[in-house]
């Protein structure tokens, strides 16, 4: 090896390059705070990188807690924020010793007057009341001042007919204020109820950590609930739970992702997308009340015409059994394909707010020619993995409850509802029965019948029994040319009547389940044509046809107010 063999001593024969001695006032050194350590991954990071990355670690993607004013800067259009109640008198209802000193210290440390900043600002041009909790101020615990500031902001939003956005973060109630702190939960919730009854939108954004009394009050009451990735969200803190049950909690317990799976948040949103998405949600919830004002914003597309086979005559070109097979084909477009094809800016919302987010039903808000609409579909998967997530398009009770929640939300904000039906049937299993599959379906029929907004259901593949009807109690029901809609599957029918499921083909003939059959029986309003080979490639011509048909549907519904819409839906089923 060459190591230690090189001669390293040398003398200079020319002084041209000799080092300048004595000039050492600029000794190399690393200034304090030149870089910092990420408290999540331990890597060195730079303040400006973190700031330009929405206070997210550029190395590990960990979320840092954000100062309330920085949060407002990231959210609100520049120069539009007007702060309300910046200063509010300190209150110490229990005369708790040392409490005032503690608050003064927190004020000094955070340069904030209290743990929440409230005010009004525009987000992508949409005005809203914004409240932001700052966890650095006594863990953003909710005392009288926090409760009062939030309540006053909500009340003013109700008066000024503005939506409310609250960025929640909290360790819970403020212990130093005792029972008075507890009352803030009721106070803020009551203010939100009035705001809701005035038909105004509340978006709750859950940041790390949102726990205790705040979770059990305003944080969980959003019409839309958004969570930041990996945020800790829960009622009882994980340490308390562990001590109580004497068990170690699983990884990811009470994190945002856990809540999404369990149906309590609509979406997890990266910080960089928050402004745009919240701006879009505000736009979708408009300020005009009711479908009728909304309708004026339907931008009619004059160039639209029926291109495909024109309006179809109800003559079945295929045998009933062939139709059954076509309706089940694996490459048939699924609800999501229609949603993305027909609508713009679809924002998916998740969860039933009770137990779970069911992958078999997708729903959310989108624009149809500039008009906000709620769209819900029963979603089959494209491959096995996807199908496991979507349970082969067989919804659980949680799915129906999610659909109903979204429909109620649409009704509250006057948006029409479009449902895509495509299910072999409601999921039949132990868990489904435990959580009340029958009740969930029944509830949908019950509630959908009186919705005060137009409801349209389109059967795009299989319309399997009650599982389909729970999303088809609509003002109009349309079917794709080769979709089916039936009391149960031909296989099931054959096995009940003839004790032989192999006679499904014969059953399909007598069951009258094709679009043409149902049209003749007066059970559906329209048949939507398909290309000969119907798949993703040929979907666009059907989408084009549907676009025209949807426009006409909205024009038909135009003359009716909410109760007339419900009445016409009632009559539609009353005659059957």
């Amino acid at each position: 090896m060459l190591r230690d063999m090189f001669k390293k001593t040398y003398t200079l024969i020319d002084t041209k390059y000799s080092a300048s001695k004595g000039n050492k006032e600029k000794e190399p050194s690393i200034p304090q705070g030149l870089w910092r350590k990420c408290n999540k991954c331990g890597q060195p990071i730079y303040v400006e990188d973190v700031m330009s990355n929405h206070y997210v670690c550029p190395k590990c993607g960990g979320y840092f807690r954000v100062h309330a004013y920085r949060r407002i800067e990231m959210l609100v259009d520049e120069g539009t924020f007007e702060e309300w109640n910046q200063k509010m008198e300190f209150s110490n209802p229990l005369d708790f010793p040392g409490y005032e000193k503690k608050v003064l210290a927190a004020r000094e440390k955070t340069k904030l007057d209290e743990a929440v900043v409230t005010g009004k600002g525009a987000i992508c041009g949409q005005w809203a009341v914004v409240c932001v909790c700052d966890s650095r101020f006594m863990m953003s615990s909710m005392g009288h001042v926090v409760g009062e500031k939030i309540t006053q902001a909500i009340e003013r939003a109700t008066r000024e007919k503005l939506p409310v956005i609250i960025f929640a973060a909290s360790g819970g109630a403020r212990m130093q204020e005792g029972i008075v702190s507890l009352m803030q939960m009721a106070k803020t919730s009551a203010a939100l109820k009035r705001h809701h009854e005035e038909g105004q939108l509340f978006i709750s954004v859950l940041t790390d950590p949102t726990t205790g009394g705040v979770t059990a009050s305003f944080a969980m009451l959003g019409d839309i609930i958004i969570a930041e990735p990996r945020a800790l969200i829960g009622f009882a803190g994980p340490r308390v739970i562990e001590q109580t049950i004497g068990q170690k909690l699983p990884e990811g317990f009470q994190r945002a992702e856990f809540l999404l799976d369990h149906g309590f948040v609509d979406m997890i949103l990266e910080r960089k997308d928050q402004k745009d998405t919240i701006g879009m949600l505000l736009k979708m919830h408009g300020r005009e009340k009711g479908f009728f004002q909304k309708q004026r914003i339907l931008e009619k597309d004059e160039s639209l015409s029926y291109g495909l086979k024109d309006k179809v005559k109800p003559a079945a070109s295929k045998s009933a059994w062939d139709t059954v097979l076509i309706s089940r084909k694996a490459d048939r477009p699924t609800a999501l394909d229609y949603i993305h094809g027909l609508f713009d800016d679809f924002i998916e919302l998740h969860g039933d707010r009770y137990f779970k987010d069911d992958g078999a039903i997708v729903g959310g808000i989108a624009f149809f020619h500039g008009m906000p609409v709620t769209v819900i579909g029963q979603a089959k998967g494209r491959n096995t993995k996807d199908n496991i997530k979507r349970n082969f398009g067989m919804p659980s009770p949680d799915g129906y409850r999610k659909a109903l929640r979204l429909m109620k939300e649409a009704e509250a904000f006057g948006r029409p509802i479009i449902c895509f039906v495509d299910t072999p049937g409601a999921f039949c299993g132990l868990e489904a029965e435990e959580r009340g599959q029958g009740e969930a379906i029944a509830r949908n029929l019950f509630e959908m019948s009186s919705l005060k907004v137009p409801v349209l259901s389109i059967v795009i593949g299989e319309g399997g029994s009650g599982g389909a009807l729970a999303m088809a109690t609509a003002n109009e029901v349309w079917m794709l040319e080769h979709a089916i809609y039936s009391i149960l599957s031909p296989e099931g029918f054959a096995s009940i009547l003839w004790k032989d499921s192999k006679k499904a083909a014969d059953a399909s003939k007598v069951m009258k389940i094709t679009a043409a059959d149902l049209y003749r029986m007066g059970l559906i309003e329209q048949i939507i044509p398909e290309e000969e080979e119907f798949n993703l490639e040929t979907l666009p011509s059907t989408i084009h046809y549907l676009e025209k048909a949807l426009e006409e549907f909205f024009i038909r519904m135009e003359g009716m107010d909410g109760s007339q819409l419900a009445e016409s839906r009632y009559k539609r089923f009353r005659t059957m």
Binding site: M1, L2, R3, D4, F6, K8, Y10, L12, Y17, S18, A19, S20, K26, E27, P28, S29, I30, P31, L34, W35, P44, Y46
Partner: protein, 450 residues
């Protein structure tokens, strides 16, 4: 002048810098990764300090460790070499904050020239010709087509974040434009999550001509003639020479003045390279500026007699340039071949491993810059370049003869190299006639371009 310099690099360039420092009486600190414990630069430097595990991200790219090492070893300057942190504006800025001299231009210039569209804008303002194309980003194929038609076909469709041929397409007419635009954009979206595209005139079979410039802190800028780096494989330079035979004295002066003007426009400091494309009609267009010393700098050293690394250290320490433009004369012809540990018959797959037997050519006008030696283990972690062989002759013909002879003597056993591929290039009649453009390898060596 500096007392001690830390070399934030490895391989032959680290060795090259250590040698220059030694000649100048400056002490050196080598930094090395765990994989480079036995690398030549580690053993050659006066002091060496390990800065982390083999992956570059944890060693040669880890700014915090390098700075900490620099402070701990009491070095007062850092030479970044090329690659790694050499064009990292943040690193240059951190060096300044730590009162360490960064041997290269300022963070501001690195940042400005590193941003393609800003560099282009600066050059247009300085009156430097650029490839005709869009000044504003394009996002849709329809929009792009209109622009392409106004520029004139053929056009190059380029992704803003693209590189190494990714997100790049050539369109020869309106018929294939939209298809090419969409596929380039898709590639960029998939690879870089960015749909920003640019469209520019596609210059067919250009020569890649770059001018070496050198500037001090007092606004003095000189150019040191050109290098023809047209022999490229997938945008990677393979062989470089200086001067370029088809460039007349008049054109050289014109291009050189333009390069100096470009450098002055940004208040450039230290060594830099202005890259131009030279088309068949001898029109030249600014492509980009490299704000570091380049791999191929020795060819310029051989034809100008100037030591570029020493000059870099001089100007960084606040000295004036040692030469004026009128002192610089190009004499003779130099060629450099890059010898890499890669297997040309297997799509130039890198071939790390132990070198079992080695023989280097020598003699009049043959220079070898390398960090390899007998029994050296080439690590798989880094760039595959093993050595640069540079020859100097009185003219191009003599330089080619010398290179042919030297390549014939070069023996590296134990691992595969591209030595024979270089030999084939040197022996190719088209190369000997000087018919070199960036399409040379795909045209004459299609078997290597699959």
């Amino acid at each position: 002048m500096f007392d001690k310099i830390l070399i934030a690099n490895r391989g032959e360039i680290a060795v090259r810098i250590i040698r220059a420092c030694r000649e100048m009486g400056i002490k050196t600190v080598a930094v090395y990764s765990e994989a480079d414990r036995d690398s030549l630069h580690t053993m050659l430097a006066d002091e060496a300090i390990c800065i982390g595990p083999a992956p570059s991200s944890q060693s040669y790219l880890n700014m915090e460790r390098i700075l900490t090492a620099c402070v701990a070893m009491k070095a007062d300057a850092i030479h970044p070499g090329f690659g790694f942190l050499s064009e990292n504006a943040r690193f240059a800025q951190l060096c300044e904050a730590c009162q360490i001299a960064f041997i290269g231009p300022s963070a501001e210039i690195i940042h400005k020239m590193g941003n393609k569209s800003e560099a282009r804008r600066t050059m247009i303002e300085a009156g430097v010709p650029v490839v005709p194309g869009t000044k504003e980003p394009v996002y849709t194929a329809e929009e792009g087509l209109k622009l392409a038609e106004s520029i004139g076909f053929p056009v190059m469709i380029k992704a803003s974040s693209g590189g190494g041929g990714k997100g790049m397409r050539i369109s020869r007419g309106a018929e294939d434009f939209q298809e090419n635009f969409r596929s380039a954009q898709l590639e960029s979206v998939k690879g870089f999550s960015d749909d920003t595209m640019y469209i520019e005139k596609y210059i067919e079979k250009p020569r890649h001509i770059e001018f070496q410039i050198m500037a001090d802190k007092y606004g003095n800028v000189v150019h040191l003639g050109e290098r023809d780096c047209s022999i490229q494989r997938r945008h990677q330079k393979v062989l470089e020479e200086s001067p370029c035979d088809i460039i007349s004295d008049e054109l050289r002066q014109n291009m050189g003045d333009t390069a100096v003007r470009a450098a002055k426009a940004v208040n450039y400091e230290n060594a830099g390279t202005i890259e131009f494309l030279l088309d068949k009609d001898k029109n030249f267009y600014f492509m980009e500026m490299n704000t570091r010393i380049q791999v191929e700098h020795p060819v310029t050293e051989l034809v100008t007699g100037l030591d570029l690394i020493k000059e870099q250290i001089l100007v960084a320490s606040g000295e004036r340039l040692s030469v004026k433009q009128e002192d610089i004369h190009i004499s003779g012809h130099a060629i450099e071949c890059r010898i890499n540990a890669e297997n040309p018959s297997r799509n130039f797959m890198p071939c790390p491993g132990r070198i079992t037997n080695i023989h280097f050519p020598g003699g009049n006008g043959v220079r070898i810059d390398t960090h390899i030696y007998q029994d050296y283990q080439v690590p798989p972690t880094y760039d595959s370049m093993l050595l640069k062989m540079i020859v100097h002759g009185k003219d191009r013909k003599e330089a080619i003869q010398k290179m042919r002879s030297a390549l014939g003597e070069l023996i590296i056993e134990g691992i595969e190299t591209n030595g024979d591929f270089q030999y084939e290039i040197i022996n190719h009649p088209a190369f000997q006639k000087g018919e070199t453009d960036t399409g040379f390898i795909p045209e004459y060596f299609p078997q290597y371009c699959k």
